[in-house]
Symmetry: D2
Subunit: 285 residues, 4 copies
């Protein structure tokens, strides 16, 4: 980073507050706005929006930047922050980073000029977020499944970032871990993790816990009919997910929706990952 | 087991219901009483107390058998079950097993003759229960600590059954694990688990999460003053525990009481452990 | 596989004999040639080359197919098998698979027509081979490093297939594992494995064991001068490898060359991986 | 330790040389004798026996102290060191520690007065030595078993110190691990390690690798007849061990004798364990 930037952090949840505090702890000046109802933020100055925009060379917007396309995602702000030309105009000639920014960008033509970048697209952030996601999923399974995970027969569908992390943790707990994937090399890859490989067609047995990480219908009626009332299904993929909810409902199966875990179970670490992604983007800019 | 026993299971929580169902699934006749408000129990016959006593050669009482010394521990029973001579007299000439039975035995002189045995004293049950205890503790830490356990600096005090299991799971999650113990050989033992050994006097640094398993004041003011608001303290030892709560309170530290985890997070598996202990006791009788 | 193939396995080492036996155990007819000095092969018929070629629809050549470009790689054959037009002509209209076949293909124009395929290029085989490679490397380190790997400070350079497997095994042994890579997402990926990430520039400390998996000079003089006589360096990358041998020699460091481990430490499993790759190729053909 | 001791280290193998060097590195004066053919020892002064005895307040003898009862175990000494009254008389009024000292003590009546203590009896040393023993056993299995340990069906007999360490390492490598023991609580204990429990009577299946840690015949003909030529048997218990060698020989099974591994595969770490035991003994004296 060539010059010492002042960072302006606006809105978001506890994660963004940890982000502001962590950047401040690195020695950068930090302004924050939009955490009024969450209490003070260590090391950062609370300012008005316009003051923040004036002082900051790097602006950090929340993840997601907006939920409704009309207001900034700022649940702890004293007043809602409308997304309009006035808001966007504050950030001309600023370096702006936000998470999932498509709808933000659509909220004003000015954004085209500002060219905000999406930290959520960074591979290192996705890799990082898979860690709290796996931890959160395991925590849910410990709480919701009536037996121990130790000795439990667990299935992971998909063997990407989250699937691999789940495999590592579950094996460490003494679970019997199976995983299903499509690609031949992923089936081979599972072995190094001590995981029993299955193709999707081979999901024809009962499991104690099933973790789905695939955003495509991979757990359909044939697999679901093998399960019973004690089986726990944890849906980690974003909607519509990979579990056939209608069939699961008809069969009386227990499905837990478990999305957006990083911000919920580990806001402090999730903030560190965002910070690293932002630092990397600044370095590469 | 020489003859086919009929098992009578009385009172207790979900765990005892799983116990009854699991014994029934092994092919034994099972009578149950005291789960009226918990719904039916697969494979077992609901009977009156006297009918159960008449039919059953082996009687299984809950864990703990009683909480107040006056009534059986039967939170899901339609009516309370008083511990008096009438109750005790039902079980003359029966093999009776219960968990933590000291106060039960004191409730009637008849128990002296009946000679009930305490399955909770079985080493294999204690070893088993350490598994759901460790899982439950980890789940609490995932939920309550604001960062991931991956990369977190965790301290385990005591390196007995629960401590070892915690070490295995936390290491598998990529935590940096320290443990404190008194005995030299325990300090050496930690290394095989990839754990950094500390004596109690060496707890002079900040940790992200501290799990106490020792039922003696090992986390006093000197150790507590090193911690901060983000540190999570999980008390696993039975009261009064090993964490100086007064100092922790004064310092504003976050302590979670986490006792009796097996029945809460894994009633199904906890029931299996009790069943194995009971079968072993019958075999050795 | 549409029709029942007869497999002809020619030459190679113990691994190819295990391959022939394993295919035979799956119920396929198998002919072998070129293991004369290795003893009989369970379930397979020893034949002449021409008989083998006549009977077999699928021909499996060794890995590598040839070492000198002139003869087939068949160290256990009674007589050398020359690579010429006569040899190639045996396999017209056959499905031919071999490992590292560039020089084989150059040995006769007929190969252009036969179009043999290289099973060594299959991703699932590369993924599989990383398992015995990591095991072999760990075995070398146990034998050659004068301390235990438990507690040892180990560095892995490169975090591809082999690097990840090494990390899994070494962590399971209680080593303190560091890894170096270039890509930001690989540095993040290491965390889920409980591995401390380093950039190549950060290799400025002493390690007990260094495993190199990168086929490019990543362990140069600056890193080597930090090491001492007890440090063990294990070179896993193919020549010229990633360790600056000249500097290492000048500094009196202990470097072990450890290539081609799958065939050496686990010929039976290495054969299984080749078999799976071949079956997959037949399925996709 | 109240006063600064001078340590005298006499004889033994590489391990004792590492021991002397490590004590010297802690800042203590160290005299050595009996490594003449092993080269110089960092930080320690080579002296005659009588000079060493004169200067040193703490004398460290090798492990075992003697092999034949007549001479000190000093394979690298320029001349043999006879165990007689003259030798013993050197150490009157010294604190003497040795390993497995029964036969040493029998070599002169003077030892009764000197009262040497046996560091090999320290529990922390036994616990420590189980680490290099497990690593060495795994290394042998990687080298000798023709497949990978990943995916291999491994049996550990005995679930004491070495058995548990083997379980940890093998599980980390993705092996399918079974263990056999007699005690009910050990069978339960295995589960936390992700290990499948068996009683000795249940060893009725084929395994890829069998590690015996029990110094009593637990692998007899019935278990051995289930194995085949690919099965590897690793005998870790001291003679006569737990594997019926006669039956194994008759069946043509592959048995590797693997005793005394700590000094062979990890002399440096084994020396650290001895040092810690000695320091602990001095502290407690």
């Amino acid at each position: 980073m060539p010059t010492i930037n002042t960072f302006g952090v606006i809105g978001g949840d506890e994660r963004m507050r940890y982000l502001a505090a962590s950047i401040a702890a690195d020695g950068y000046p930090v302004c924050v706005h939009g955490f009024e109802n969450l209490g003070p933020c260590r090391g950062a100055a609370e300012t008005t929006l316009s003051e923040l925009a004036k002082k900051s060379s790097v602006i950090l917007l929340p993840l997601p930047a907006t939920r409704d396309g009309l207001t900034l995602n700022a649940p702890y702000a004293a007043a809602e922050i409308r997304l309009d030309d006035a808001f966007a105009s504050l950030f001309c000639n600023r370096t702006v980073y936000g998470g999932m920014i498509q709808r933000l960008v659509a909220s004003s033509v000015l954004w085209r000029e500002i060219e905000p970048e999406d930290y959520y697209r960074r591979e290192e952030l996705a890799v990082g977020n898979a860690i709290p996601t796996a931890e959160g999923a395991v925590s849910i399974a410990i709480q919701e499944y009536p037996g121990t995970l130790n000795g439990a027969k667990c299935l992971i569908t998909g063997f990407g970032r989250i699937g691999k992390n789940l495999a590592i943790i579950l094996r460490g707990m003494g679970a019997r871990v199976y995983a299903a994937a499509r690609k031949k090399e992923d089936l081979m890859r599972m072995r190094a993790f001590g995981v029993e490989p299955l193709t999707y067609r081979e999901i024809t047995q009962r499991f104690d816990v099933i973790f789905n990480t695939v955003p495509a219908r991979v757990i359909g009626a044939p697999a679901l009919t093998q399960q019973d009332a004690d089986t726990l299904l944890v849906e980690l993929a974003s909607a519509p997910g990979g579990i056939d909810l209608e069939s699961a409902g008809r069969l009386g199966l227990h499905v837990v929706q478990a999305q957006s875990l990083p911000g919920r179970v580990a806001p402090k670490t999730a903030a560190e990952y965002i910070k690293e992604a932002v630092y990397n983007m600044l370095e590469e800019a």
